[in-house]
Symmetry: D2
Subunit: 161 residues, 4 copies
């Protein structure tokens, strides 16, 4: 686990799914944001990352912890396209907003993935209500430790539960 | 889940295992305490409560979150005695301190269980560094929510991880 | 579970993956065949069916129980094409032969799926050494009962283990 | 896994629980018998062996596969006595007959455990309808392989399902 406190870079997203309007981290200030970077054909994402993102989504109101998926395709771009992702989100009944990370013109790694320095999928980035990255993790992370990181953002009595 | 903030009553313990000296909540001020009330022949404790207490024990240094087991026998006292408990702790390789809740002279429910108003086993009680109960839960609780409750005690940068 | 003993229809496969030559049920007489019908974006297949097919694959020599995947796409044909399937098999490290069920010209359900009367994915079909269907199951099936069905094909001492 | 075909030794049982009459392997000829040797404070038995024995118990009528527990205490005899076992069976809602293996006068290993040469707990012994041992296994065994072993006893159409 990597604990950092730098300002979260803006999201470069070519298309949003599961939301009627584009999401902007600046507009989300005041609440925590959990960013889940995944690829639809990544086994660790399907088995662990996405179910965990769903548990967070179901455990908190969106104005306390906003869960956002980020489809950071860095390989097999042809078969993990927007149409395939839309089917995937529907089949897996994923309800939270998902942005398609903007492809780069000069390499396979998309722009947001590059800006955050993500090492692969699945990755989690936890952004605090001030827009700073508090945790960035590649691979599996225990629910207990993810919970602690979320709870620490709200020391005192900010949570409704 | 029941969120409370009253002062944690003292522990009434007839015998301590896995520790060379008796534990006292007042002496533990300054760190969080997770109290896990269980019975050795309670299936929900063995399948869920104790493994979760172990995960907390393994995730935090004892001077940040101190995990304490409390053997709150309120039925079948004859077969869940101190000798049986000692075998149980050894077979299940439970390393954290466990207190045997002091039997009452006027009923089956032991004294600490009664003082905390615990409804059964497994139960978790989370006590903050000031000695106040922050969470008291009977039955299963998600790792994510238990983590949040622990993290909230340490908003800011008190945790080493 | 549906126990039947009719002759297994031939496989209509447009393309084979993970094998250098086409598989033919008649040529496989003399051994049991476990046919696993799946779709790469079917959550129940990914979470349950394919891992179970893998356990069978790893538990028996191929000349006793031959495991064959059948990609029976009956929806979202565009995104579950041969190229996407090849990536899926590689990412999920699926080693057994997989046939792409031949698309029909007059409807979404492919030819083998139609010939067997499969109701959806995941489905398992167990074919005995004489080429007869002994079990056909849609949805999850316990390992214990699948094991019993396989074991019954080999009463006496035909198994090497 | 050890596949054998010797005659199953008789059960030496000091007390039967969950049954009104003593069980005798000779009287059980004509059906398969799954013997599950366990100790109530053995973690592997509680986590794996007993749940698996329960799955077998729930999957077959007793006149096809008879599940019998055998409490083979070879350590900590004082705390794993008959009274404690009775509480254990009740708390864990174990419905199948359980025999207490007859203690030896000349060592810690009880008589049936010794006669079968069991190496520890959990162990499974599968006895065929002719009274011969077909499988004897110490430790965890996959449901799939246990199912195969059961199914092989009934090649042909002896099973009702």
């Amino acid at each position: 686990m990597q604990v950092v406190a730098s300002r979260a870079p803006p999201l470069s997203v070519s298309q949003w799914l599961n939301t009627t309007e584009a999401l902007d981290l600046v507009a989300l200030r005041g609440r925590a944001v959990l960013l889940h970077a995944f690829q639809m054909l990544c086994p660790g994402c399907v088995a662990h990352g996405i179910p965990q993102a769903l548990r967070v989504y179901q455990s908190f109101p969106a104005d306390e912890v906003m869960v956002i998926g980020l489809h950071t395709v860095f390989e097999h771009h042809d078969v993990m396209n927007a149409e395939a992702l839309r089917v995937f989100l529907s089949e897996y009944r994923i309800p939270f907003p998902v942005g398609i990370d903007q492809a780069a013109t000069d390499g396979p790694v998309p722009l947001t993935m590059r800006a955050y320095g993500l090492r692969g999928t699945p990755s989690f980035v936890l952004i605090d209500p001030d827009g700073c990255i508090r945790l960035q993790h590649f691979g599996q992370i225990d629910d207990l430790l993810l919970g602690v990181a979320i709870g620490r953002l709200y020391g005192g009595d900010r949570f409704s539960q």
